[in-house]
């Protein structure tokens, strides 16, 4: 069988007046019809650039400097703009990451599909409509005739992605390039979309390139894989072989960094190939260390106890009560977290897990129910000596490291703010010493002190967040999806760091994540949430081995398999 796509030693660079960034260097890729090729790599590895280079949609000043892109034997680099447009619609289909933005919100699904059908295969009128219905059915949207008249916002995220796939299929392409097609979707929907892509690929004998950062996706769907690192393809080959027996050091650390869903490991090992985060982490001796100074006071054994917690958000405000409408974000939730425990909250988006975090942290007001921190009632209270003292025991690590740090403050000032505010250091010298020490412990080093947050990567910023949280000497840490915005290797570093700190300081951690394997690696006990209520609370092992609730079983089945 001849190759559908044959990229030979392609290089792409972005030329500026100051420097040339080689985004892709000497990458060769081949793809046969009916085959799924995964391109996997982390941020900045150049994987998206490859996808854009194939269809000649590189953003200026990016350009292909060397190599050939043979598509069915024809070099795409020799085509002019008009020929390229034809290739893009009719021969190569694209699926983008965010179905929210890749559909036009002002046109019905039908109009968008029919427009594409008109342009690509030149059929019009009722024939085109029939074709559109047929396409929607092929991507698994039922009642498709009625749904042609709906607008994108009337579809869910997964349905929208199906429509995007239907659009990509409209011109009967030979090749589909999917750039992070499931990153914006929940796990349950991700599994369906991946199945769909795989099925269409085999039925229609099209070649599919899946670009993703997620090894789980690659393991589930692709036949072959190319691992990208720093613009180069470090390893290519059969998926099974690469995942089970990686040759290159980078691939090894990448795979080691993927949290496993099937069993718990103590630490993520051999992940030092990328961000050199694992500097010598000194252990903290609580009896000697500044962080331990206040730890002598008596604390009860229950760190957080939540009783019958309820929170509604109003969807529609109105003067009259009957016209108002609410979404019940948290419904009758009760749980208690023991001192020194890592407690996981897991659920899909919209299940209310972040709301619980924000309620406990006192960022939003409770409607009903009570929250106690170490037996101190803190519900809807911010004043009072006892309440303030109890609240200071709790700190939060946020999801987005890009917005959780004040961009106008130096790292030193960010970390020292609580020390400064609560006067927990006697002199400026001592304060700087503490900050230096904290930054050391989170693996940043003291030369970070005078820099601003934008000079750091996402993982480093998350370390700054952790240092800031530690600076108020907390007993409880709430981590709201602390690693979901990070690359997998960086995630491994951060999770290791959190575990170490928990060991050293005896922290209680409320760990929130949608990612089951991460939960498995981190938590002692887990609560599964759905539609604002808790389905099941169990120890991590028993949840993963013998889930009791239907929904827990369902979630576990959908978990990307990592037992390669």
């Amino acid at each position: 069988m001849t190759d559908l796509l044959d990229i030979k030693k392609m290089s792409v660079s972005f030329q500026t007046e100051y420097e040339t960034i080689d985004a892709v260097r000497n990458v060769s890729i081949t793809l046969r019809p009916g085959e799924v090729l995964g391109i996997v790599g982390e941020s900045g590895a150049g994987k998206s650039t490859i996808g854009n280079a194939i269809v000649n949609l590189l953003e200026p000043p990016g350009e292909i400097t060397r190599g050939e892109i043979l598509f069915k034997g024809q070099d795409l680099r020799n085509l002019d703009d008009k020929q390229m447009r034809d290739v893009r619609g009719k021969k190569i289909g694209m699926i983008f990451q965010d179905p929210q933005t890749s559909l036009n919100p002002l046109m019905t699904i039908g109009a968008q599909l029919i427009e594409t059908i008109n342009k690509t295969i030149n059929i019009y009128g009722s024939e085109a409509t029939n074709k559109a219905i047929e396409l929607l059915e092929s991507v698994g949207i039922d009642e498709s005739e009625a749904r042609l008249n709906l607008y994108p916002h009337q579809f869910s995220g997964g349905m929208r992605q199906r429509v995007v796939i239907a659009l990509a299929l409209a011109g009967n392409p030979d090749l589909i390039i999917a750039d992070e097609p499931t990153t914006a979707l929940d796990v349950s929907i991700q599994a369906q979309i991946l199945d769909l892509i795989k099925r269409l690929c085999q039925e229609r004998q099209v070649g599919v390139i899946i670009i993703t950062h997620d090894i789980g996706v690659i393991a589930n769907i692709s036949d072959r894989v190319t691992v990208m690192f720093n613009g180069q393809a470090v390893e290519s080959g059969d998926v099974k072989q690469i995942l089970t027996n990686p040759k290159h050091e980078y691939t090894k650390s990448l795979i080691a960094a993927v949290p496993r869903g099937d069993r718990k490991v103590e630490r993520f090992k051999s992940i030092d190939y990328i961000e050199g985060g694992a500097q010598t982490q000194r252990r903290i001796d609580l009896d000697q260390h500044w962080l331990g100074k206040k730890f002598t006071q008596h604390f009860s054994d229950t760190a957080i106890s939540i009783n019958n917690l309820n929170k509604k958000y109003s969807l529609k405000k109105a003067f009259l009560k009957r016209n108002r409408s609410y979404v019940h974000a948290v419904k009758d939730v009760s749980l208690s977290i023991k001192k020194g425990e890592i407690f996981g909250l897991v659920g899909e988006s919209g299940s209310g897990k972040s709301t619980i975090a924000r309620l406990v942290a006192g960022l939003v007001r409770t409607d009903k129910g009570s929250i106690k921190l170490f037996d101190q009632e803190v519900t809807n209270k911010s004043k009072g000596k006892d309440v303030i003292a109890a609240r200071r025991n709790l700190q939060m690590i946020f999801q987005d490291p890009y917005s959780s740090l004040n961009a106008r403050m130096r790292v030193q000032d960010i970390v020292s703010e609580p020390i400064n505010y609560y006067k927990t250091a006697s002199t400026n010298m001592e304060m700087r010493q503490i900050v230096r020490d904290l930054l050391d412990h989170v693996g940043l080093g003291s030369n970070a002190m005078l820099k601003y947050p934008h000079q750091f990567s996402g993982g480093q910023r998350q370390r700054i967040s952790i240092a800031r949280a530690l600076a108020s000497r907390p007993k409880i840490l709430i981590c709201d999806e602390p690693t979901s915005a990070l690359d997998v290797s960086v995630q491994a570093h951060i999770l290791n760091l959190l575990k170490d700190l928990q060991d050293d300081l005896g922290l209680t951690i409320l760990f929130i994540s949608h990612d089951l394997p991460v939960i498995r690696q981190m938590c002692d006990r887990v609560a599964v949430m759905r539609h604002g209520s808790i389905c099941e609370i169990a120890t991590t092992d028993s949840l993963f081995e013998k889930p009791q609730h239907e929904y827990s079983k369902h979630l576990l089945e959908l978990m990307p398999k990592t037992d390669f």
Binding site: F14, T16, E17, Y18, E19, I21, A23, G41, S43, G44, A45, G46, K47, S48, T49, N52, E59, P61, G62, Q97, E180, T183, H213, R358, A361, G362, L363, I388, R391, R392, L394, Q395, M396, F398, Q399, D400, S403, S404, L405, N406, A407, R408, M409, E417, P418, Y421, Y422, G458, S465, R468, S472, A485, D487
Partner: protein, 302 residues
């Protein structure tokens, strides 16, 4: 997840930003207004040294010098390069001193309006809800009247004087600043660093001053520059209408108004030169403000 493409974009942007910054400061459109503004500010600050005569000093103002054409020699021997006005004051000196009054009025009122506007805007954005609704309705009411009308009414109530003009101009302008600050601050308010600050247990005052304020004021830099030009012209209008600064402390506007009586009898210079100066000042500030916007927001320059 930041993908590769956006990482590359970040790198390009930072390189581009430096380049744009440098190029923008060196191009004539920025350089000329800056030089002009420096010159104007210099004139205003060093008015007593630079001006050939002191127009406030009644002892040397002589009615004999009334309406001398540009270039004629005055009674005391100094050359009136831009002529004299109806009372015999040297127009050049009057312009230099007038510039001083105009700039003091504009800058002081801008500073007061900025302070009030920032405080109101930040409080509205931070507390939200009813406080926000209440403050913003006041802003709405304020902005629904033409600035010049409000200023006229206020000055009719307050009476004449530089301080009164400053108060009137501050009242006219604060609402615009308040609304602009609120718009930025409301976005910043929802970011996680503000939540982080409140989980640290900081009090609201500190959160507003140390976290919200520094991240919300950058759009104001441009607005304040353009608004200063605007208030110079409002002040000139008010003075021209006779409700602004008193004739004994002339601003550019009152000089123009002063000369207006003589323009039909051929003494054009009394109105013309202050007018040119007003135009140059306002234009220079406006062009500078526009350039500042480009410099601070390089995306617009594409």
């Amino acid at each position: 997840m930041k993908d590769g493409q956006s990482l590359i974009e970040d790198k390009l942007n930072s390189a581009k930003y430096k380049k744009v910054l440098k190029a923008n400061f060196l191009k004539p459109a920025t350089l000329i207004p800056i030089l002009l503004l420096a010159f104007i500010a210099g004139c205003a600050i060093f008015a007593p040294i630079l001006a050939p005569t002191n127009p406030y000093d009644l002892a040397i103002v002589s009615i004999m010098d009334s309406r001398l054409a540009p270039g004629e020699v005055m009674f005391n021997g100094t050359v009136a390069w831009l002529g004299t006005d109806g009372a015999g004051r040297d127009v050049l000196s009057a312009i230099i001193y007038g510039l001083r009054t105009s700039l003091i009025v504009a800058l002081t009122s801008a500073a007061i309006a900025l302070t009030v506007g920032i405080v109101v805007g930040l409080i509205a954005a931070f507390y939200g809800g009813k406080i926000d609704a209440f403050l913003m309705r006041i802003v709405d009411i304020q902005l629904s009247f033409p600035a010049i009308l409000i200023a006229l009414v206020l000055l009719a109530l307050l009476g004449k004087g530089i301080d009164k003009v400053i108060i009137a101009l501050a009242i006219v302008q604060w609402a615009l600043y308040a609304r602009t600050v609120r718009a930025t601050a409301i976005v910043e308010r929802r970011k996680e660093y503000i939540e982080a600050a409140s989980t640290l247990g900081l009090n609201n005052f500190r959160i507003i001053v140390k976290h919200l304020l520094p991240n919300s004021i950058s759009p104001l830099i441009v607005l304040a520059t353009l608004q200063t030009a605007h208030s110079i012209s409002i002040e000139a209008t008010l003075s021209f209408l006779g409700v602004g600064v008193p004739i004994t402390e002339p601003s550019l506007g009152s000089l123009i108004s002063n000369g207006f009586d003589f323009i039909l009898s051929g003494a054009y210079w009394i109105t013309f030169f202050p007018g040119i100066m007003l135009l140059a000042t306002v234009a220079a500030i406006n062009v500078f403000g526009d350039q500042l916007r480009t410099i601070l927001n390089p995306r617009l320059s594409k």
